[in-house]
C-alpha cells in the first residue's frame, strides 16, 4: 500500500515526467504527495577560483545567487502545485540544499515515505545545475521503493496513468 510519496523535482524534462508519474500514483492510491526541490550544494563552490573581491563582496554574490535559486525553486514547485490541484491531488512542498541523492534519502526517512519518485537524466539542454544523482547508491540506501520515471522519445504518449507508470518502473523495491 502506497500512502506517502516523495517526488524529487527541479523543473527539468526528466523531473516533469517524475511529477506526472507521482501525480498519477498519488491519485490512484489516494496517497499523500510531497514534492522536494534540492538546490545542489555545488552552487556553493561555483566561484571558488574567484579571489579578487573581498569576502563581503563574494557573500553579496552568494546572497544574490541564493535568492535567484530559491526563486527558481519556488517557480518550479508552484507550477507543480497548480498541476496537482488540477488533478485534484493535494501536495506539500519543501526546498533543501545539499547533495540531491543524500537529501532525497534523508527527506524520505524523515517523512517515512513509501515511495520515492525521481526523474531520468535527459539529454539536451538543461535549465538546471548539471549533476546526476547516483541512482545505484540511492537504490541501495533507500528506505523504501524507488521509481525512476522514463522520458519517452518524442511523439510517444507521455501522459501516464498509474498503471502505465508502474509498467515503466525502473526502480528496485527495497526493505
Amino acid at each position: 500500500m502506497i500512502r506517502t510519496i516523495l517526488v524529487a523535482t527541479h523543473g527539468s524534462k526528466g523531473a516533469v515526467e517524475a511529477e506526472r508519474c507521482a501525480l498519477d500514483l498519488a491519485a490512484t492510491h489516494d496517497a499523500e504527495l510531497h514534492a522536494l526541490y534540492v538546490i545542489h550544494k555545488g552552487w556553493g563552490s561555483l566561484v571558488g577560483i574567484e579571489w579578487l573581491h573581498s569576502s563581503e563582496k563574494r557573500m553579496d554574490f552568494y546572497r544574490y545567487a541564493e535568492a535567484e535559486l530559491y526563486k527558481m525553486a519556488d517557480a518550479a514547485l508552484g507550477k507543480f502545485v497548480q498541476r496537482a490541484a488540477a488533478c485534484g491531488v493535494k501536495v506539500t512542498t519543501s526546498v533543501r540544499v545539499g547533495d540531491p541523492g543524500e537529501v532525497i534519502l534523508s527527506e524520505a526517512r524523515e517523512r517515512g515515505s513509501d515511495l520515492i519518485v525521481i526523474g531520468d537524466a535527459c539529454k539536451g539542454r538543461s535549465e538546471e545545475y548539471k549533476a546526476k544523482i547516483n541512482v545505484g547508491k540511492l537504490l541501495r540506501s533507500a528506505p523504501c521503493s524507488v521509481l525512476q520515471a522514463k522520458v519517452l522519445a518524442r511523439g510517444k504518449d507521455t501522459a501516464l496513468t498509474g498503471e502505465a507508470c508502474a509498467s515503466r518502473l525502473q526502480g528496485i523495491a527495497q526493505g
Binding site: G42, W43, S45, L46, V47, G48, I49, E50, W51, L52, H53, S54, K57, R58, D60, F61, Y64, A65, E68, L69, M72, R125, S126, E127, E128, Y129, K130, A131
Partner: protein, 530 residues
C-alpha cells in the same frame, strides 16, 4: 563539544613540517651528504636547503603550537579562532604540497625532461613548463577531484585567496618608476582595446546566437575583463538567473584552464620574451589567478614575466567597474521603463573596486621611498644598483682597454653614449643610473660579442642584491605557490561540467579570438624587454 574540533590533525601536520626541517638541518651539518641532503644534491636543490629549513622550522613551530591550542581549547567561537586557528591544518597541508612540488617534483621532472630529450627532440619539462607552479595547480586539481577536500582542510584552502592578494601586494615593491610608467602605458592601450573589443564582440555574438540578455551580460564581463571575478561582479547588475551563472562560470573556468596549459608552451615554441609573454598572458588569459600562474609557469626563476603580467592584470581589473557600468546601462535599455535609471555610477565604482590594488600601489610607493633597501641602493630598470666608488666594482683592465679603443674608432655617434663610455674608462666603473642605460645602449654601436659582454659586465658589477628585497621575493614566491595550489583545489570537474549551451559556443569563439589576436599583437608589435 564537537569531535571534529578535537582533531589532532593540525598538530600532526605541524610536527611533520618541524620534523622535516630538523632532520634536514641535522643531515646538513654532516660532512658527507646523507639522507635528505643526498637527495637534494641529486635533485640539484642543495642551494635551497637553507630556505627549506627556515620555512619548515617557523611554519612547523607555529602550526604545532596552534595544533596544541586546538586540542586544549577545541571550541572555536571568536573571529580570531575562525581566521587563524581553524585554517591552520589546511595551511600546513598546502605547505607540505608546496614543498613536495617545489623541491621534489619539479627537479624530478627537470631530470626526466633532460633524459627524454634525445628521444623526444625537445626538453618536455621546459617546453610544457612542468615547474612547481604548474605541478602545484595540477596536484590541487587532482586532489579536489579525487579525494576531495576534507572538512579540516576547507578553511585553510580558502586562505589561498588571501595568499594571492599578499603575493600581488608584495610584488608592488619590486617595480621601479621607469618600469611602472612604461608597462602602465603599454597595458592601458592593450587592455583598453581588448577589454572593450571583447565585451562588445560578445554583446554582438550573443545577439547573433539569440541568447538571453542576462547570459550575454555575464559573458561579456567575464570574457572581456577578468573571468569568473568579472562574472561575479556583473551577475546581479544584469539580473542573471541561476542557469546563466552556472553556464557562464563553468565556461569561463574551462576556457581559462585550457589557456593556462596552452599559453606557456606556445610562447616557448615561438620564442616570446618575458615582456611579450607577460603582455599576452595579462591580456588573453581569462581568469586573473591564471594570469599569475601562466607567468610563473613560463618563467619560474625570475619575476620579470610576473611583473609584466600582473601590471596588465591589474590594469584590466581597474576596468571592471567601468565595464559593469556600461553593462548596467546596456541591460537597463532592454528592460521595462521602471528599471531604468537605477544605476548609481559612484556606488558601482566603489563597490566593484578591488581594494587590494590599493595595497599594491601603497607597497610600490613605500618601495619608491627606498625603505626596503639599504642606504645608497636604488632600483633602476629591473635591477638594484649601488653607485658608491668601490674597487670591487671596477671593470677589468683588458675590458677597459677594449672600450677605450672602441671609443677611438669613432663608431659611437651619440654624444651622450660617448661621454658615458669616456667616464666609465676614467672612473673604471659606472657611477650613476643614467650611465648604466647609456653604457648598455652602447651595445647598439657594435657587433663585437666581447665588447657587448664588457658593457653588460660593467652594468652587472654595480648591480646589488638588497637582503630585504631578496627575502620579500622569496616569501612572495611562497605566497603565489601556496595561493595557486589552493586555487587549483577550487577547480572542480563539477564546475567545469556546467559549461554548455550557448554560453559554451560564445565563450569558445570569443575566448579563442581574444587569445589569438592578442598573441599576434604581442608577438609581432611588442619589441624589446623591460
Amino acid at each position: 563539544m564537537n569531535e571534529e574540533r578535537k582533531s589532532p590533525v593540525t598538530l600532526i601536520i605541524g610536527l611533520i613540517l618541524l620534523a622535516y626541517a630538523l632532520i634536514l638541518r641535522s643531515q646538513n651539518e654532516s660532512l658527507t651528504p646523507t639522507g635528505l641532503v643526498a637527495v637534494a644534491e641529486y635533485l640539484k636543490t642543495g642551494k635551497t636547503i637553507g630556505t627549506q629549513i627556515s620555512v619548515g622550522l617557523w611554519s612547523g613551530i607555529i602550526i604545532s603550537l596552534v595544533g596544541i591550542w586546538n586540542l586544549a581549547v577545541p571550541a572555536m567561537t571568536s573571529k580570531f579562532d575562525k581566521l587563524v586557528r581553524a585554517p591552520m591544518a589546511g595551511i600546513g597541508m598546502i605547505m607540505i604540497l608546496a614543498y613536495v612540488t617545489r623541491y621534489y617534483m619539479e627537479p624530478i621532472f627537470k631530470i626526466w625532461g633532460k633524459q627524454a630529450q634525445p628521444m623526444l627532440g625537445f626538453d618536455m619539462a621546459s617546453v610544457f613548463g612542468l615547474n612547481y607552479i604548474l605541478l602545484g595547480i595540477l596536484l590541487g586539481i587532482v586532489w579536489v577531484n579525487t579525494i576531495g577536500i576534507p572538512g579540516w582542510m576547507q578553511a585553510g584552502v580558502k586562505t589561498a585567496r588571501l595568499a594571492m592578494k599578499v603575493g600581488v601586494i608584495t610584488l608592488g615593491a619590486m617595480y621601479s618608476i621607469t618600469e611602472l610608467k612604461y608597462l602602465g602605458g603599454l597595458s592601458i592601450v592593450m587592455v583598453a582595446t581588448f577589454v572593450m573589443g571583447t565585451s562588445l564582440f560578445v554583446l554582438w555574438l550573443g545577439k547573433l546566437a539569440q541568447a538571453e540578455r542576462p547570459l550575454i551580460g555575464v559573458l561579456s564581463a567575464g570574457l572581456g575583463v577578468c573571468g569568473v571575478s568579472a562574472a561575479v561582479a556583473a551577475a546581479p547588475v544584469v539580473k542573471a538567473r541561476g542557469v546563466d551563472m552556472a553556464y557562464s562560470i563553468g565556461m569561463l573556468l574551462l576556457v581559462g584552464v585550457v589557456g593556462l596549459f596552452v599559453f606557456p608552451p606556445v610562447a616557448k615554441m615561438v620564442g616570446m620574451n618575458e615582456l611579450q609573454f607577460g603582455a599576452w598572458a595579462g591580456t588573453g588569459i581569462l581568469n586573473s589567478a591564471q594570469v599569475a600562474a601562466a607567468a610563473l609557469i613560463f618563467d619560474p626563476n625570475t619575476i620579470e614575466t610576473l611583473k609584466v603580467a600582473e601590471i596588465f592584470n591589474i590594469t584590466r581589473i581597474l576596468f571592471l567597474p567601468f565595464i559593469v557600468i556600461v553593462l548596467a546601462v546596456w541591460f537597463a535599455k532592454g528592460e521595462e521603463e521602471a528599471e531604468k535609471g537605477k544605476v548609481s555610477i559612484g556606488k558601482v565604482l566603489i563597490d566593484k573596486f578591488p581594494l587590494f590594488v590599493l595595497g599594491f600601489l601603497i607597497m610600490f610607493a613605500f618601495s619608491s621611498t627606498g625603505i626596503f633597501t639599504p642606504k645608497g641602493m636604488e632600483l633602476h630598470g629591473k635591477h638594484f644598483y649601488k653607485f658608491k666608488i668601490d674597487e670591487k666594482k671596477e671593470v677589468r683592465t683588458r675590458d677597459l682597454k677594449k672600450i677605450s679603443a672602441f671609443l677611438e674608432t669613432g663608431a659611437v655617434t651619440d654624444p651622450k653614449v660617448k661621454a658615458a663610455l669616456g667616464k666609465l674608462v676614467a672612473d673604471r666603473q659606472i657611477t650613476s643610473a643614467e650611465q648604466t642605460d647609456l653604457v648598455l645602449k652602447a651595445q647598439d654601436f657594435t657587433k663585437e660579442k666581447d665588447l657587448k659582454a664588457a658593457f653588460k659586465e660593467a652594468d652587472k658589477l654595480v648591480q646589488a642584491k638588497p637582503a630585504t628585497m631578496e627575502m620579500m621575493r622569496e616569501y612572495m614566491m611562497w605566497f603565489f605557490a601556496f595561493g595557486l595550489i589552493g586555487l587549483g583545489m577550487q577547480i572542480t570537474w563539477q564546475t567545469l561540467r556546467q559549461a554548455g549551451g550557448k554560453a559554451a559556443m560564445i565563450g569558445v569563439v570569443a575566448g579563442i579570438t581574444k587569445a589569438t589576436l592578442s598573441f599576434f599583437v604581442c608577438w609581432l608589435l611588442i619589441k624589446g624587454s623591460i
